[in-house]
Symmetry: C2
Subunit: 450 residues, 2 copies
């Protein structure tokens, strides 16, 4: 199966675990096989492989998510990066072009498009595989997955099928109705639209030619910014006559708020903390290295990360967005393709950061104009390059980099570094990058800006 | 007025703001004059001076509180350090001997003994001054402050006076009764025992001679460990026939739990945080440098420090002690006489600490056997001494101290230092101290172990 996972989303509704550069799909608080903690992304990827071990997975996303995807899945998936956000139709066209031009997928092959973050049981991906087959066999131009509704939700779009059979032709769509209308649709056999589409690659590329004058991937990418924002539903689904829908009856949850997200937690406490015996229906997620004690909490969620702490009634937690928006916020923790960084201390004229570099990874070769930096290696082995000169470093070694000094570091084993940034105007923008200029050694294999 | 403040107490009930080395009297969350944040200690000291600008204040305490007292009050008060804990009678005897032998207070002078942490209005200290006068004039052997009860508390001892006059002879005492008995006492004009005693210095020293074979301060201190634990109430008050009590009708609160402590906060939020409009009767105290968002919280207290985070229903917060006891805990923040330290990061083989040294202060000259240390100065100016060699340091300077290297640092201006401790067995016990061995410079004025 060729599957395109649409990975978007901002990081506000699950603050403080999600932030500007860590969307909810990357938060590691779910419990997977053998009790391992996993994110929505790693869970969905695991489930796809369980349904189809040869699945060709491509993630369509924006630039700022690439680090997190590479951190969590390495090179096991393809990543198609949108130059900017233009809603789902251009994004799916770009990914389709990526499949044809960069991966050699044939235009007659089936492709399934799916959100990156459904919280579902394994049978969902069996259904997706079936959907891909239906598309490839040409049973319809467009094949959709319809979720059996469990209540008259006002949050979802509805698909109205012609019949109640497992696979049916689609009569029409209804966008987010009110509860009364939803009741009526459901009584008439309507299904939730779960945002899954399957088609032959050639079908979608035809639409791309028609609506975006598409020729090839490179050209589509170059013109991407000029496209207007338009959803796949609006551009394709609502205009297509030949659509079939496959019913899915299993578990399907949209873990979009803390209220729903905590329902997916296997244990009420994740991380360091205690809920005393007077707490009820309360979940605690703690990424900090200090304990949290909850007493007498009813129906609450407590979530803590380097970015901040949320203490909320579960129902109230759905209304978090405006409050998060008004908080002036620095990203205090981020997963990067090369490892992670955590801001330990913020002072007026200095910033202290802990850098963890994964073995075999390194930073971009760079310099700063307005700040000095000092590295203290606290564990691991690696090599630094300072103004073209390489040297090995280990625990206790100190590297001073005055403003203007070109520098990078490469990890031979997992490397932990304490970085002191010193200066009056410390910004992420103050960074100049250079090609690495040390001869006679392996290039830093994976470089990426922090 | 000679006043002895008894400063004891463990740090569990107001966790995480209090800890093993920061008792509740040192927590800075009260609002004083001109909106300045103050601790119980600085508040009480300010109130004493308001009642008597020439007050001679002596704090009787244990060794581990000296740093916090010096940090908050500098050298403005006398500190009488108990070699170990032996309850209030030996502690008051030691302080009385300290007054006579080290401060030259005459045996005919009045002395008032008071807990360090009453939350009261200024008139309380006017009453204490009056009590000191009563003692000095010999109106009774022992003069007590009786608090007008506001309810039939089971938490306090009761003083039963002979009459309802403002000053009355004391008939008898009753230790913490049940509510019914308390009702009866109050109906009969009983007062709460607020733990305040006034006497002529000679009277108390007589008791010390009688019960502890006291001769002088040095000898008392030397034998201190051999004394049995005994309270002043039991050893003196309950056996004395000639006692008077002065009624105090003003505000008097024992801020011993979060529930009562938050009542003394001028604003519901102290530190970075938001209580949204759906919160009610909720208090937030945040010493961390990250925001806390509270939504839909009713009757709760949320308190965060480098040591941990408490999220509790206010009533439940009284039962915090056993949970704090079971939490394995490293002190993550401490005020010292020379400034403060904050643990920023704990790893298996390293510990990262931020040190803030106040101008004119320095550390002990010391070395470590099992760990290397690296200092990175992030702001300020000072001087380090490494194995007898002094050098000036400023922002960006790095000092590497391998195990065995003798070192110290002295702050000329406020000095902020990032300290990386590196080794397999990092403990506070791994510390050897030495006399400073640099010639030709001022000795480090205030040294104290961390």
């Amino acid at each position: 199966m060729n599957i395109i996972l649409l990975s978007g989303g901002s990081g506000q509704r699950l603050w403080p675990l999600s932030n500007d550069i860590r969307s909810k799909q990357f938060i590691r608080i779910l419990t997977g096989e053998e009790g391992r903690v996993e994110s929505m992304l790693t869970r969905v990827y695991r489930q796809i492989l369980a349904a189809d071990r040869d699945a060709n997975v491509t993630i369509a996303t924006s630039k700022k998510q690439v680090s997190s995807i590479r951190n969590q899945l390495g090179d096991k998936v393809n990543v198609c990066v949108e130059p900017c956000r233009r809603d789902t139709f251009p994004a799916i066209c770009l990914a389709a072009a990526y499949l044809r031009d960069l991966q050699g997928v044939g235009e007659e092959e089936g492709v399934v498009v799916c959100p990156v973050d459904p919280y579902v049981e394994d049978s969902y991906f069996e259904a997706l595989k079936e959907l891909g087959g239906m598309a490839e066999r040409g049973e319809a131009n467009l094949s959709l997955l319809g979720i059996e509704p469990t209540y008259a939700s006002e949050k979802y779009g509805y698909i109205l099928p012609v019949s109640g059979e497992r696979v049916s032709r689609v009569d029409t769509f209804r966008e987010k109705p009110d509860a009364a209308a939803a009741e009526k649709y459901i009584a008439g056999g309507a299904l939730w639209n779960g945002g899954v589409f399957a088609f032959r690659l050639g079908y979608l590329l035809g639409k791309a030619r028609e609506l975006l004058s598409f020729q090839n991937y490179g050209e589509l990418r170059a013109r991407y910014e000029s496209f207007r924002k338009i959803s796949f539903d609006y551009a394709v689904a609502e205009r297509e006559k030949d659509i079939r829908v496959l019913r899915y009856r299993g578990q399907w949850k949209d873990l979009g708020t803390w209220n729903t997200f905590t329902e997916a937690m296997a244990e009420p406490v994740l991380g360091r903390g205690i809920l005393n015996e007077t707490c009820s229906n309360t979940h605690l997620v703690n990424e900090l290295n200090i304990p949290i004690l909850c007493m007498g909490c009813k129906d609450m969620v407590v979530a803590a990360s380097s970015d901040g702490i949320l203490v909320s009634d579960k129902v109230q937690s759905s209304y978090i967005k405006p409050f998060v928006e008004q908080m002036e916020q620095q990203v205090m923790y981020a997963e990067k393709s090369w490892g992670s960084f955590t801001v330990l201390d913020v002072q007026e004229d200095s910033l202290t950061i802990k850098i963890v570099l994964l073995p075999g990874h390194g930073l971009y070769y760079h310099s700063h104009e307005h700040r000095d930096e000092v590295w203290t290696v606290t564990s691991g082995r690696g090599r630094v390059v300072l103004d073209g000169v390489e040297r090995a470093v280990g625990p206790g070694d100190v590297v001073s980099m005055p403003a203007g000094c070109k520098h990078t570091v490469f990890a031979d084993t997992e490397l932990k570094i304490l970085e002191a940034q010193l200066g009056e105007n410390i910004t992420v923008e103050d960074k100049q990058k250079y090609p690495l200029e040390v001869a006679g050694r392996a290039a830093l294999s994976e470089q990426e800006p922090r």
